[in-house]
Symmetry: C2
Subunit: 151 residues, 2 copies
DNA sequence: AAAAATTTGTTTACAAGGAAACAATCTCCA
DNA sequence: TGGAGATTGTTTCCTTGTAAACAAATTTTT
């Protein structure tokens, strides 16, 4: 990896230590870092997985809708989908009722792959926040769901 | 901006909708998006600001320590510090007791600038999570602090 | 004290992601 | 009906951040 070992904890963050945006960024970085440590490169990356997972559960979803829900910009989505297409994981289809749009579907091979990947993906997700109590983890999940406006 | 307007909420996320890592990523993206909408480009970016803020409160802090606390990798820190140096905002000094290290200090001009910037920065930070109740926001902050291991 | 291993910062090459401009299509309304 | 304006996806260029290899300095081992 990269980070050194000698940890000096005596850094004064002042007001930053209670700033919600700052804490969220740190939390996210921590989650990603541990993800790559534990799950490694052998599998799908988190971004790729979430895209494929959502396509699996919403066959024929349009790029724009996918991007809105996962907060992926259109320019970036184009690249992601092309990469997945090049790997033979998704199929693009222009619908008749709106020939600007593109509908995405998983190939059968990809569906299998995603279901397999979901095993270790959600195993990891379940391990996130293990330094919190069961109740705290539950609370945090609920608060984040409200924060981002899911349900 | 970029995101389209027509929002289709009927996307099935299945288990993803309770996955902590996924929710955290979404939350972070939402915060960043709103940051750039509201605060705009006229001021410091959040990453730059946090670096300068921490240097202000820890004069002579070493790059490595700064990086550990803000979870910025060394390769990236080098670039950030050089950019700040080029803007005349920080000073680099190699200490006698360890000539590999670099100690960073703000220039007087930068100290002023950071104190000014802190006004709108923390105003924004205070507005994060406005769709939560006061108690929920408090809870979320506390849980995130425990999650990332601050205090 | 000398060799081996570690730490720190840097460089280089690359991946992830965003902004702006664009073409094609669709919608709305005068 | 026929523009005017909006939406969708794409392309190009740019910013942010990472990985790997490296040099210099320090620490550890023997």
């Amino acid at each position: 990896m990269d980070m050194p070992v000698r940890t000096s904890e005596d850094v004064d963050l002042d007001r930053l230590s209670t700033a919600l945006g700052f804490l969220m960024r740190l939390a996210q970085l921590k989650i990603y870092e541990r993800f790559f440590e534990e799950v490694g490169e052998h599998h799908l990356k988190p971004g790729e997985f979430s895209v494929l997972w959502v396509i699996l559960h919403n066959p024929g979803i349009r790029q724009s809708v996918l991007g809105q829900r996962l907060m992926i910009k259109r320019a970036h989505m184009t690249k992601l989908i092309r990469a997945l297409e090049d790997q033979g994981l998704v199929t693009r289809q222009v619908p008749d009722d709106d020939r600007r749009a593109v509908e995405i579907t998983l190939t059968p091979a990809a569906a299998d792959k995603v279901r397999q990947a979901s095993h270790w993906f959600f195993t990891y997700e379940d391990s996130v926040g293990a330094n919190l109590t069961r109740d705290e983890r539950q609370q945090l999940t609920g608060l984040l769901r409200k924060f981002v406006g899911i349900d």
